[in-house]
């Protein structure tokens, strides 16, 4: 009887948890548009970071669709088709650069959005699920970057993917029991053959253009629904004195910012080819018989983990990554009682670390290694 009661109470509390996070009475256009208000305070800029991430995602989808018309996901034609897009397709180079620049923009703003949401304590009840969805979206965004990196099938793409997949398999040696084989199975599943080849390209392509976009769209839908239903979080300790209407005031400001971003993206894509940051030998078509050229490294947004990985033992990075992953997922409960001042301090420290590792990681690596 007690067990029954306890079972019923657990079910009831689970249902109540879900009902609080998805209040049906608030799921209407009137509530989400007409009555929604956005607090105005010194951290208000943080409310725009999510919109900016979404803007870059939309650019990714549109430019990605254009690239799909010409890209050939085969080891013999992938590099040639990318070259064809860049050299011969009308505005193909611009579209490709917009895709590459906006990928970086999306990852940059997704990280900024996560850090500001953390500092503003936007994960408080009833927004726990919004936070968790956001963390999952960030992971998917990074996976987009990893899978997309292989598609041009050049020296840096294939060699960096080999290193990345090998790192996945290396995790296995630190896992106990049945978990020991999971990373190897994962690596084999994504690689599809003995070395990175046609099967890998096909699988990464499927992940990049079908599975990940579907997963992202689904999670983004829930994330946005939650944001609209619960409104913007207060963001600061004292109750904001001023509020502005979401529709049309905030929406207009958001769209203006999107316009500015589009202009910057267009100018950058037109004037600075994204590949100009890489040494040209790494852009040559991948040669399976050739030696691995020097200078292979991942995209800039992986530097925060890549350079520590080069400097410290693998298990240290693995342990740290596991802990950080767990802390990110359980943030709403771990930092439930923390003040915004404490959260702001942690967010600043994390931002500084990311900034220093991304900008000066290579110099730090050379300084410590030699």
């Amino acid at each position: 009887m007690t067990r029954d009661n306890s079972g019923i109470s657990k079910t009831a509390s689970a249902l109540s948890f879900i009902a609080d996070r998805f209040p049906l009475e608030k799921m209407n256009l009137e509530h989400m548009l007409a009555h929604k208000e956005v607090p105005v305070h010194k951290m208000s800029w943080g409310y725009y970071t999510g919109g900016m991430t979404m803007f870059f995602f939309m650019i990714q989808v549109i430019t990605g669709l254009f690239l799909l018309f010409y890209y050939q996901p085969t080891v013999s034609d992938a590099n040639l088709s990318v070259e064809y897009i860049t050299k011969y397709v009308s505005v193909g180079g611009l579209i490709r650069n917009m895709h590459a620049w906006s990928a970086s923009g999306m990852i940059f703003f997704a990280v900024v959005h996560l850090i500001t949401a953390f500092a503003m304590k936007s994960f408080e009840k009833p927004r726990e699920l919004t936070w968790i969805m956001g963390v999952l979206l960030l992971i998917i965004t990074f996976t987009f970057g990893f899978t997309g990196y292989l598609l041009p099938w050049n020296q840096i793409a294939v060699n960096a993917t080999k290193v990345g997949l090998q790192s996945v398999e290396d995790i296995g040696q630190y896992l106990p029991g049945m978990l020991h084989d999971v990373p190897r199975i994962l690596r084999e599943t994504f690689q599809g053959e003995a070395s990175v080849g046609q099967s890998t390209l096909g699988r990464f392509y499927a992940l990049h253009v079908v599975l990940l976009p579907l997963a992202l769209a689904g999670l983004l839908g829930i994330h946005l629904l939650q944001v609209q239903v619960h409104g913007m979080s207060q963001g600061v300790d004292e109750k904001p004195k001023k509020q502005e209407r979401f529709f049309p005031v905030f929406l207009f400001k958001d769209l203006t910012l999107w316009g500015v971003l589009f202009f910057i993206l267009f100018t950058f894509s037109l004037c600075i080819p994204f590949e100009s940051f890489l040494p040209f030998p790494l852009l040559a078509p991948y040669d399976a018989m050739g030696a691995t050229p020097p200078g292979i490294k991942p995209e800039w947004y992986f530097f925060f983990v890549y350079y520590p990985l080069e400097l410290l033992p693998f298990w240290v990075i693995l342990l740290a990554s596991g802990l950080i992953g767990a802390v990110l997922i359980f943030t709403p409960w771990i930092f439930k009682g923390s003040s915004r001042k404490t959260l702001g301090f942690i967010a600043t420290a994390v931002s500084l670390y990311l900034l220093i590792m991304t900008l000066f990681g290579e110099q730090i690596y050379h300084l410590l290694k030699h």
């Binding site: 529709f247 929406l251 500015v260 202009f263 100018t267 600075i272 080819p273 100009s276 040494p279 020097p294």
Partner: protein, 204 residues
């Protein structure tokens, strides 16, 4: 036991060590001084593909390497190698467009002299020469360690300045289009707001 060798066998025995030495030699890069300077000066990785057809250099039997050349290509190679003075059009099958242009512009003799001071190669090339037409001269691309034959490759900041100048009309028109669209959206949102506002019933 008396072992005797024929004349042919004796010749083969004598030649074999020389052949082994020749084939066992490590793959040489044509003139590595230039590659080394470009890498050191730019901090970027550079390989033989800057001037050669093959990224691994001219030695070997792959595409654009001496061992894989046909008779006609070997003739072109010899002709290019004899272009000691500047001004001769050369079409060496082991060099790419930039490599051939260097020989045409400064001649093989001057090029060989510059091995002692590879930095001066940039000065020796004509300042207006820009094979990929990306707005950065070939000499500057050599100093920057970027691809002089790829308009998509160059020092990012220099490309930005060159392309901003080249595409200024596009940039200005895009700015106007974005502003106009933004103004249109603002009017549209204002209109929507007016339409969706609850209407007040005038008092009688």
């Amino acid at each position: 036991m008396n072992i005797s060798f024929s004349r042919t066998s004796k010749t083969l025995i004598a030649v074999t060590p020389v052949l082994i030495w020749l084939f066992a030699m490590p793959q040489t890069q044509a003139y590595p001084q230039f590659q080394e300077f470009s890498e050191k000066n730019s901090g970027r990785n550079v390989n033989c593909a800057m001037c050669h057809v093959n990224g691994d250099g001219p030695t070997g039997d792959g595409k654009g390497q001496i061992g894989g050349l046909t008779k006609e290509e070997l003739d072109s190679l010899m002709k290019a190698r004899s272009a000691l003075a500047p001004g001769t059009l050369v079409d060496s099958p082991i060099l790419n467009k930039f490599g051939n242009e260097i020989i045409k512009d400064i001649g093989k003799r001057k090029f060989l002299e510059l091995r002692q001071n590879p930095k001066d190669l940039a000065k020796a090339l004509p300042a207006q020469s820009d094979l990929d037409q990306d707005g950065i001269s070939d000499g500057q691309e050599y100093l920057d360690g970027t691809d002089p034959l790829n308009p998509e490759h160059g020092d990012p900041l220099k490309l930005l300045m060159a392309n901003l100048n080249k595409y200024r009309l596009h940039v200005i028109l895009t700015f106007i289009a974005v502003m106009t669209l933004n103004w249109g959206i603002m009017q549209f949102l204002k209109g929507l707001e007016i339409l969706t506002k609850p209407r007040q019933i005038p008092k009688a």
